[in-house]
Structure formats: structure tokens, C-alpha cells
């Protein structure tokens, strides 16, 4: 049984992702975009889970890393001929180079990791409310930089003409990779030490675990995965504006994590798929009978209900067990 547990811990999430991937190939084109959204949401939520779930420290800032990843991958894959015309203010190194699909995803992960390291170094000394507020400031700062600084991106305009390479295959493979990394991390000694600090920071220090160092490690890894997920996202949408990787996405992804169960990989995956399903259903309904805005009202209410009735999420924050 002890040998089977880690396999099951990984197999459950992967099966769900593959099932969603297959579903996306079997449905109509208008439904397919919803399914792809859900799979990319799995990548994002699992990336966020790597930090929040393992450390127990709340962060409102992880979408910053999704944002820089999305813009990095987007800006670097717009065809050179068009880029010179629509993004004239870019730094020459960004303006005069074009990357392929895979390279752009790796760059997105790298940019996410670097930004996470820079902000994590001072902020990972904080916990609780202070950490939440400080990471929220990171989201605000990143959003403003992206919106105003036209040397690194499109500024306040929408970046379009990004190659749409994230179809069923890329979404499924991408989300699988993120889950694999998250699983390997939480089973590694680094992940296990960090989870001990989540349970009791003082007792963890008493057995030699540096809380700051281990939180920073997870924050940077989460930053890299968030950047990568941002790359998948922009290649799915084909265009991106700063508003799409800001408050609403922060709220939605945290709702997914809370609803699924913050402290398990299984919870992150289940929450991402369940809330994405609900979200898509309501988005469709808003086109018909329901008034605009119903979507976020319902998702918010569901999150609040889960917090009241089942605070550890629908999976109980536990990994899949037989």
C-alpha cells in the first residue's frame, strides 16, 4: 500500500487531465475553447498550489507571474515583420527576435521564476495577513508596469497576432508537465520539509528546517510554473491584455484552489476543473437568460459556501486514496 499511494496521488490528477484533453477533441469548436480554458486553468491552479498549498502562506500575487509569462511568450512569438510595426517602443532585443512555441514557453517559465525570486527574497520573511497584503502589492505593481511600460510589451493595448499553438495536445501536455513537477516537488525532501513548516513553523525550525529558505524555494518554483502556464494561456487566446491577467483571474484561480482543497494536488486539479465547468456553464447562460455578472456572483458565493461548510475543500485537502 505504501508503494501504491504515490502512484495514485499522481494517477488521479493525470487521468482527469487526459480525460479533459480527450473531451476537448470530441466537442464542437465553440465548446472546445471552454474545455481548453479548463485545462490551462489546471496548469495555473496547480502552479499556484505549489506555493500556497505546500507552505500554507496565502499569496494574491501569483497571477503576476502568469502575467509576465503570458506577455513574455506573446511578445516573443509575434512574427518579426508585424512586431516592428505594432510594437515600435520595445527594447531592441525583444523587438528584433522571434522565438518558436516551445522556446517561448521556456522563456515564460524563466521570467516567472526570476520575478518570483526578486520579490520573494524580501517577502518570504512574512506570513499570515502581512504576506497576503504584500503579495497583493506585487500584483498591483506588476500590472501597472505591464500596462505603462511600452518597452517591454504592448502597454495598455491588446497584444494580438500571437500564434495559437495551445490546442488540445499542447494544453494537455502542458498541464501534465505542471502536475508532474508539482508532484515530484511535494514528494521531494524540500517539499516535505516545507509541508512541515506549514504544520508548525517552530517545530520545523527545531529540527533544522529554515522556514525562509524553503518558502522561497517553493515561491520561485511556483513562479516558474505560473509563467509557463501564462505562456500556455496566451498561446490559447492568441491575444492578451493586462486586464485578463489581473484581479478577476486572481479571484477565479484562488476560488478554484479553495473549492478543491488548498492542501492537496488532487484538490487543486479537481477545484480547477469543477469551477471552470461551472464558470463556462454560467458564461453560456449569461448569453441567454441570465443577467451579466451572474458568473462571478455565483462563483464567489460557491467559494464562500465551501469556506463555511467545508473549509478544507471538496477533496478535504487530501490526496486521492483508495
Amino acid at each position: 500500500m505504501r508503494r501504491l499511494a504515490p502512484v495514485l496521488e499522481l494517477a488521479g490528477p493525470l487521468l482527469l487531465i487526459v480525460a479533459a484533453g480527450l473531451l476537448s477533441t470530441a466537442v464542437s469548436r465553440s465548446t472546445q475553447i471552454y474545455v481548453l480554458h479548463a485545462i490551462v486553468a489546471v496548469a495555473m491552479v496547480v502552479a499556484i498550489y505549489v506555493f500556497i498549498g505546500n507552505s500554507g502562506v496565502l499569496s494574491f500575487g501569483q497571477i503576476s507571474f502568469v502575467a509576465v509569462g503570458a506577455f513574455a511568450a506573446g511578445v516573443m512569438t509575434v512574427p518579426l515583420l508585424l512586431k516592428g510595426a505594432i510594437l515600435r517602443d520595445l527594447f531592441p532585443i525583444l523587438r528584433d527576435h522571434e522565438l518558436g512555441n516551445v522556446e517561448s514557453l521556456l522563456v515564460a517559465a524563466g521570467v516567472g521564476a526570476v520575478l518570483a525570486a526578486v520579490v520573494g527574497l524580501p517577502l518570504m520573511r512574512l506570513s499570515g495577513l502581512a504576506a497576503g497584503i504584500a503579495t497583493f502589492a506585487v500584483l498591483e505593481i506588476t500590472n501597472n508596469l505591464l500596462r505603462e511600460w511600452t518597452a517591454i510589451g504592448p502597454g495598455a493595448t491588446t497584444l494580438s497576432l500571437v500564434p495559437q499553438t495551445t490546442g488540445p495536445a499542447q494544453a494537455t501536455i502542458g498541464a501534465t508537465l505542471v502536475v508532474l513537477v508539482a508532484w515530484a516537488y511535494q514528494r521531494s525532501r524540500f517539499g516535505r520539509r516545507l509541508r512541515a513548516t506549514r504544520e508548525d513553523p517552530a517545530a520545523a525550525q527545531a529540527v533544522g528546517i529554515s522556514v525562509h529558505r524553503h518558502r522561497l524555494g517553493a515561491f520561485v518554483l511556483s513562479g516558474a510554473l505560473c509563467g509557463f502556464a501564462g505562456g500556455l494561456y496566451v498561446h490559447m487566446l492568441g491575444s492578451i491584455s493586462t486586464g485578463q491577467v489581473y484581479l478577476e483571474l486572481t479571484f477565479l484561480t484562488l476560488a478554484m484552489l479553495v473549492v478543491g482543497g488548498m492542501t492537496s494536488l488532487w484538490g487543486a486539479v479537481v477545484g480547477a476543473l469543477a469551477v471552470s465547468g461551472l464558470d463556462s456553464f454560467l458564461a453560456e447562460a449569461e448569453r441567454g437568460a441570465l443577467p451579466d455578472g451572474t458568473r462571478l456572483v455565483v462563483v464567489g458565493a460557491v467559494m464562500a459556501l465551501v469556506l463555511v461548510l467545508r473549509p478544507s475543500g471538496i477533496t478535504g485537502g487530501k490526496e486521492l486514496r483508495l
Partner: protein, 254 residues
Amino acid sequence: MSTAAETQAGDGAGDVLRASSVSRSFAGVRALQDVTLEVRRHEVVGLIGPNGAGKSTLVNVLSGFDRPDDGAVELAGRDVTGWNASRRARAGLARTFQHSRAFPSLSVRENVEVAALGIGARPREAARRADALLELLGLEKLAAVTASALSHGDERRLGVARALATEPHFVLMDEPAAGLPEAELPEFAAVVRSVRDEHDAGVLLVDHNVALVMDVCDRIQVLDQGRTLAEGPPGEIRANLDVAAAYLGESAAE
């Protein structure tokens, strides 16, 4: 486990945990005043005194969870006063907590394993160490149980197992026998002795159970109102009337 050569080096001046003239005040209340305490490897030192005498403050100052206002802490010849708790733990100083601080959602076994991982052991070595310690402390049947479901006595034993998993040179035990049933005390005393004799560690034992302390300690230091009141072998301490007044009188009144 230490080699014979290391055990011999245990008699050297480097193998000492020492608090030198430490003082610590909280909001004007002097919890510790100019206290000096030494624990050598391979000995059990008892620390007793009435409630509020400064025992826990001293354990916190020694283990790095608190800093002294004055004085220094020395670990194996190095001044560690400025080191944080996790660094001291990696340098061979382990502690248990007054109120059990098991990692609640981890299993008993995982609790011990992660302690070994904490000081840098590889996962395979951590698993091996956990098996040995669970057996030593009679916890092997509870290995898969979630720590939050343990009885009081088992929690105490888990605390000791976790401290030993860091292969410490010194172990500070903060009231490890509190809540243990009377019948389990002889067995617990044997565990403390095996920490000294088989793990070659120095033990600082803080406990209210005078019989246990008298039984297992090689030396006893008595604190009262933040000062050292007496120090010596158990027989001498027992005979000391000041101690009787400060400690036994108090505990009789409890």
C-alpha cells in the same frame, strides 16, 4: 552513531553546551538573571524550580527560539548566540516542546522522517532512522497513525523520537514526562538514559516530576526567580533545604 574516537573526543572542552551569564527580561520582569549552565555530552543534567523560575526561558535561549539580553550561548566551542533555531538544530542541538508540537496531519512515521530530512538526511536514510527510533520509543505500531490522534503519552514519546532523528549532540527536553502515566515513568527513564549512553548525547531534562529527575540525572541545577539557587549531584540537591523550601514546598502546595 559515533565512532569510538568521537566518543573519546566527547571528553574534550569542545563538547559542551553552555549558557554563560545569560539574562533575559520580559516587559521589566527578569526571567533570567546571570544564569550559567553547562551540559556535557554523555551526561543528563536536570533543571528544576518552581513555576516561573525561568526554566522554559533558559531552554528557549539555549535552543535559539529566544535571544538573551546579556550573556552568550556556546555550542561545541562555537559562539552561537546570534544563530537562529534551525541553524542550531543543524549543528546538533535538538529540543522537545512543553506542549507537544507534532506536525498534526503527518503520520507518526512522517513526523520522525521529516525531522531527519530537516538536518539534511537523504530520504532513504531518514526512513531507516525513523524505523529505528519508532522501535526505541515503542511507537512502531502507531507508525501510520496521524499525529493529531495520539494520546498524550504517545505524543511525548513522538517528541523525543523526532528530536533524536536529528542525531543531536545535545537534547533539551522541556517537561517530557508531563502527562505520562506513572506506570510508564521507569520506561521513559530508560529512554533518557539510552539517549545518553547509546546516542552519546548530553541531555538537559526540565521536569516537575522530582522522582524522575532525581532518578536519571547525573547533576541537577535549581532555578528560582531567574537565578541559580543550587547545583550539584542529586543526593546533595535533595538534602538542600533551600531547594525544599523553593521547590518541594511549592509543588506540595500545587
